[in-house]
Symmetry: C2
Subunit: 277 residues, 2 copies
C-alpha cells in the first residue's frame, strides 16, 4: 500500500487525493496553517492529517503537488529542502520551462520527478472525465496510483514538459477565449454597439457567451496566474505571448467576484471591466 | 440617378460597387495606376472608368471608400484635398477613433461623412448575407443606394464610430480566434504534444480548426493591419489591446502564403509559424 502525500487539498487537490485513495493508496496531508474549510474538505476526501510538511515528506513514497501556479516552485523547493527521495508529481498549470526547472530542483537530491497536467473540473465522479496527463520516465508509477479511480490518468510521453504543454495549450483556447469574449463585450458596450453585436452573433452564440463569461467570474481570481504561465509557454516556443497577457489582465479585473454569493449579471461583469480601465 | 465613386475595386470593393449599380446608381472608378486584374474586375462589375481621382471627386455625389485599413486615412485625405463636397462613406476595417478622425478630415470642407462596417465576404449574391452596417446622420442616404442589391445595408446609429466598432468587435472574435488557434497548434507542435492536444480536442473540433487555419492563409497578409486596428479599438475603450497585437504578429508570419496557387497543409502552416520565430 503506497503512502501518498498530497499538497494541497484545495477543491481540485482534494478530489485528486480522494481518487488516489480510491486507487488503494493511503493519502496524507499536512494541516499546519490551513483553513477550517480546507481541513473539512480533506477530512471528507478521506485524507489523513500528518500535520507538518516535514512529516509528509518523511512518510510519503509519492508526493502530489496540486496548487495554484504561482506556488508550484515554492512547494517543490520546500519538499526538496526537506530531503525528499521518492517520486514527486507536479500536476499544476505551469509553463513547460517552469516544470523542467522544478524537475531539476526535485531530482538534484536523488528524488524522481513526473510532470502532470489536469484537464477538466474536480474529479468527483468518473463520468466527469477529468484527465490527468502524465509525462516523464516514471509517469506510469503515478498512473498506477489512479487505476480504477474517478481520475483518468494516462501517460503521453517520457519527456518532462509534455504534460504541462498539453495542459497549457488546451487551456490557451478555453480560458483564452472566455477572456477575449469578456473584453469584446466591454468594448462593444463602451462604443454603444453591444446590442448590434449580439444581434449579428445571433441568439445562441450570445446566450452561450453570456453564460461562459458569467460562470467564469467566481474563478477569475485564480486564472490570472495560469494565463501568465500560458503566455510564458507561448514565448518559450517562440510564439507571441500577448494573447494571454491580455487574458491575465481581464481576469485580474474580474478578481473582485471571488467568493461572491450570487453570480453577477452580464451588465455587472461588463461594468467591472470598464470601471477598471 | 446618383453618381457613386468607388475607391477601390479590390475583391470586396468591386462587389460593393456592383451592388450600388444594382441599386440604380452609376458607379465610377479611377483606373490610373491600377493593375490589369483590377481593371478587369471593375469592368466585370459594371463600373465606369473615369481615369483619375480628380475626375472621380468632381463627378461623384457619393464616394465609397473600400480599401485596406492602412490606406483609409490616405484615401480620405486625398479626397478632401481635391475639395469633395458630397457624402463620403468609409466602409473600412478601422478603429472607431481612426474613423472619427477621418470624419473630421472629410467634413472640414463641407462634405458629409458616414461610417460603415462590412461583415461577411464579397457581396456577390444576396444569399451570402453580406452586411453593410452604417452610422452617422446621413447614413440612410447610403442605405438607400443599396436598396434591393446583394448587399444588406442597415443603419445602426447616428453616431460616427458605431459601425466601425461593430465591425471591429465582430472580427475580434472570428479572426482573433483563428490567429490564436494557429499559434496554439505551433506551440503544441514545438513541445511535441500536438497529437495529444488534437485527441483531447476531439475529431470534430480538430477538423474545424485545421480547416479554419488553412483557409485563412491566403488572406493572412491583409489581416495584420485589421488586427492592429482591433488592438487600437480595445485600447481606445480601455481594454487590453495585446490579444490582437499577438494576432497581428501571427498573420504577419503567415503573409508568405499570399497568392499561393495551392492551399498549404496544416504541417506547412505550423512550420511557417515556428520558422519565423
Amino acid at each position: 500500500m503506497t503512502t501518498v502525500g498530497l499538497i494541497n487539498p484545495g477543491t481540485m487537490g482534494a478530489s485528486v487525493g480522494a481518487a488516489a485513495g480510491q486507487g488503494g493508496a493511503t493519502v496524507i496531508w499536512a494541516s499546519t496553517g490551513r483553513s477550517l474549510a480546507t481541513r473539512e474538505r480533506a477530512h471528507e476526501s478521506g485524507l489523513e492529517d500528518c500535520h507538518t510538511l516535514k512529516n509528509l515528506v518523511a512518510t510519503s513514497e509519492v508526493i502530489l503537488s496540486v496548487c495554484p501556479p504561482h506556488s508550484a516552485s515554492d512547494v517543490a523547493g520546500q519538499v526538496a529542502e526537506l530531503g525528499f527521495s521518492g517520486i514527486y508529481l507536479d500536476a499544476n498549470a505551469i509553463a513547460p520551462d517552469v516544470t523542467r526547472q522544478i524537475g531539476l530542483t526535485i531530482t538534484k537530491r536523488g528524488a524522481r520527478f513526473v510532470d502532470g497536467g489536469i484537464i477538466g473540473g474536480p474529479a468527483r465522479n468518473v463520468e466527469y472525465g477529468t484527465q490527468l496527463y502524465l509525462s516523464g520516465e516514471d509517469a506510469s508509477v503515478i498512473a498506477d496510483i489512479f487505476e480504477g479511480s474517478n481520475l483518468h490518468a494516462s501517460v503521453i510521453s517520457d519527456q518532462i514538459g509534455a504534460a504541462s504543454a498539453l495542459k497549457m495549450t488546451f487551456a490557451a483556447y478555453t480560458k483564452g477565449t472566455t477572456a477575449l469574449l469578456s473584453a469584446i463585450l466591454a468594448v462593444a458596450e463602451k462604443e454603444g454597439v453591444r446590442a448590434n453585436l449580439e444581434k449579428q452573433w445571433g441568439d445562441e452564440f450570445t446566450r452561450q457567451t453570456h453564460q461562459r463569461v458569467i460562470a467564469n467570474t467566481a474563478k477569475a481570481w485564480r486564472f490570472e496566474g495560469e494565463m501568465r504561465e500560458i503566455a510564458a509557454t507561448f514565448s518559450g516556443a517562440g510564439l507571441p505571448g500577448n494573447f494571454h497577457e491580455a487574458a491575465a489582465q481581464v481576469f485580474a479585473d474580474l478578481a473582485k467576484f471571488k467568493n461572491q454569493d450570487e453570480t453577477p449579471g452580464i451588465e455587472e461583469v461588463v461594468a467591472a471591466l470598464l470601471k477598471s480601465t
